[in-house]
Symmetry: C2
Subunit: 212 residues, 2 copies
């Protein structure tokens, strides 16, 4: 019998790989020609599986596109758990977020892997047909973040508003910061935007003395 928690086998690995391959393929093609000009058949072909298999992994094209974002968001909770318990909550959260969302925002040419993820996010935000999947992914990941926050603060996910409130606000802050980042001209650092947004949250979102 396999040690349950351990590495569940080489088979599971393969599954994750095809899942990721399908997601990347969906993103790449959708960015390139627009989502409606991409059929499931194309995505499946790009990933080297049958069309029917695509739907074993994702129930829609949108879900496939959002999957990468989902995985990334998931990691925030993971990262938060990994941070020393001595850090105050907001410091830990900020570090966790920055750690996972900081990407090579400069020097990168065109083909950085992050670059593709970025294009994917831009697409999900701009295409109305994708925002649903995008938000659903973020919200699902949010639940794990809430659990991590509950752990760290000694609150109860089921009974207290607090952990889910924090998770929800953080998720929203990340989204807003990314939206801003994507259209900022001239470009600004995503890290700065994230820190700014989370800082304002932790400060109680006081009305700024006057706009910039």
């Amino acid at each position: 019998m396999g040690t349950e928690g351990e590495r569940l086998g080489l088979r599971e690995r393969k599954k994750q790989e095809t899942r990721i391959a399908l997601s990347w393929a969906a993103i790449r093609l959708a960015v390139e020609r627009g989502l409606d000009n991409v059929r499931v058949e194309d995505i499946a072909a790009e990933a080297g599986v049958s069309p029917r298999t695509f739907n074993n992994y994702f129930s829609s094209k949108g879900e496939a596109v959002a999957a990468r974002h989902f995985d990334r968001a998931r990691r925030i909770a993971e990262e938060l758990r990994a941070r020393p318990a001595s850090e105050p909550l907001w410091e830990a959260v900020t570090n966790a977020v920055v750690e996972r969302f900081a990407l090579g925002q400069e020097g990168a040419g065109e083909s950085t892997p992050d670059r593709q993820w970025l294009d994917g996010v831009r697409l999900m935000i701009s295409d109305p047909a994708l925002t649903g999947a995008f938000l659903a992914a973020a919200t699902t990941a949010e639940a794990e973040l809430a659990a991590a926050v509950a752990e760290r603060t000694g609150t109860d996910v089921a009974a207290d508003l607090y952990p889910r409130l924090v998770a929800g606000a953080v998720t929203a802050a990340i989204r807003v910061a990314m939206e801003q980042w994507l259209r900022a001209d001239p470009p600004v650092s995503i890290v700065l935007l994230l820190r700014d947004a989370l800082g304002q949250l932790a400060a109680g979102l006081p009305t700024p003395p006057h706009a910039s």
Copy 2:
């Protein structure tokens, strides 16, 4: 000549009515038998229009179900604008939210109109196939709230993070409060939950001394 801003005509009214009728029909049927057991044809029939017309109003069943929630969320921005400029932002926001989301939570039997909306929300939260549309609706309404916040605080929706950050956090808080409300046993006042959630936001989400 029609006074421009006024009532834009009896025709527009009719459109809104069918839109609302379609949305209610979608909610009612979906609550009753589950979304997959409802076809577009059924919804259209219930609203007294042809199936083809349904898709002139909504691009999916989910969108139709979420439409009521969307309209309600929209009104928050409206209400916020209506509040006296003398009120501090968070007081105004809280009042606006409570004003629009407070519903007869007791004494009502089964057939209150609010009751149906409530069932709709419960459905959207529980059915994964609907959360996307639900969140998309909330996020779209969020943009209007951000605009209202910007107006009130003298910030710039395009340039500053602030107004969209507030709108995003408030939207998340409302969602979390409603989730909590829907499963609270024994029941608690939605108004209390909303005030609590928004209060914590305005306080900077400090880690509570210890869980309840």
